[in-house]
């Protein structure tokens, strides 16, 4: 069965930890990390594989740090 799978890549160095993407994600794929980047912000990170590639997080991100991938994956 073909299924739409998505993936996100977050540029953690540019993330400012505003958490707007967390509120925008319909599948709670994103959470804040305990680590900080070089500017001292807790950055967003992907915590599960529910992502469908809807691009909501990337669209609302004020700093444009999220790149979204989407592909059809065939599973048996």
């Amino acid at each position: 069965m073909a299924k739409i799978k998505g993936d996100i890549v977050i540029n953690t160095e540019r993330c400012k930890g505003c958490e707007v993407c967390i509120a925008a994600c319909p599948f709670t794929v994103i959470a804040m990390s305990k680590d900080v980047n070089s500017k001292g912000y807790h950055f967003a990170m992907k915590v599960n594989d529910e992502c469908t590639g809807c691009t909501n997080c990337a669209v609302v991100c004020p700093d444009g740090v999220i790149t979204v991938y989407r592909a059809k994956v065939t599973t048996e």
Partner: protein
């Protein structure tokens, strides 16, 4: 979990569905975390890229938080004196009528010190786009009260809330300019949710397409947050904006094709 994804190899260049446009530089933006300016910058650059007019576009940056917009937007920009962006844009558009011109202004710039320039540029019906970011506060200078501050809203110069008898009423400059005959398209949008961001992008695209037809000013207001000035986290600020800003500044089109939209429709579109 991330390793599982690499196994099925979704991260390929051909699978990219969303990526920050190259017209926005890679330098980190100077705005506070969660600020709407970054989103509006990105949507603006995406519109210029999709319309393929970025080589023929000249922007006028204001004074305010977005004074450094020329550092982030990889197009031709001019910095104007405080509030004078519409006057500078008038000159640019008249000298380069085949170019696309926009001003990018905050509420302190457009609705306070630049009220005269804004109203007269709109009344003359100049053919450029005005992008107005309204956060109800002077963000850059430390959260002082602006003309657009809501009644009862706290700011650093109205610590007990804006008192209307002594401090006056908030100025709905967008409704004001919508009355002028030189204005062709007026809309009010927001950028706090994915749906609203997409609507803002559509409104920006329409505003730039109208410049081809030389119909008059296209005025796009974006109600934005100022979490630093409002002393809230970005998510709280977005919620506060929904609860307090939107009843006073309802979202939706105010003037389309030179005709005012009935108020009933504005409420429905919210």
């Amino acid at each position: 979990m991330e390793e599982q994804f690499e196994k099925i190899e979704i991260r390929k260049p051909e699978n990219i569905v969303y990526k920050k446009t190259d017209l926005l530089v890679d330098r980190p933006l100077s705005y506070c975390p969660g600020c709407g300016h970054g989103t509006v910058h990105r949507m603006l650059m995406e519109v210029l890229e999709e319309m393929n007019i970025y080589e023929k576009t000249i922007g006028v940056s204001p004074v305010g938080c977005s004074v450094l917009a020329y550092d982030f937007l990889n197009i031709d920009m001019i910095g104007a004196a405080h509030g004078r962006a519409p006057a500078v844009a008038t000159a640019v558009k008249r000298l380069w009528p085949d170019h696309f011109v926009f001003t990018y202004q905050g509420d302190g710039d457009l609705a306070a010190i630049g009220t005269a320039e804004t109203i007269h540029a709109c009344n003359r019906g100049e053919n450029f786009t005005i992008i107005f970011i309204n956060n109800g506060i002077y963000g850059m200078t430390g959260g002082q009260m602006a003309p657009t501050t809501l009644p009862g809203m706290r700011s650093s110069t109205s610590p007990y809330g804006r008192d209307v008898p002594t401090m006056g009423h908030p100025l709905k400059i967008t409704e004001l300019v919508a009355q002028l005959p030189g204005v062709h398209f007026v809309t009010r949008q927001a950028v706090h949710t994915p749906g609203n961001v997409r609507k803002t992008k559509k409104a920006l695209r329409k505003a730039f397409e109208l410049q081809k037809e030389n119909k008059g000013v296209a005025f796009v207001e974006v109600v934005s947050n100022c979490n630093s000035g409002w002393k809230m986290t970005p998510v709280q600020a977005n919620k506060w904006m929904e609860e307090h800003m939107f009843p006073f500044y309802p979202l939706g089109d105010i003037k389309v094709d030179g005709k005012l939209v009935e108020k009933k429709e504005m409420v429905d579109k919210e």
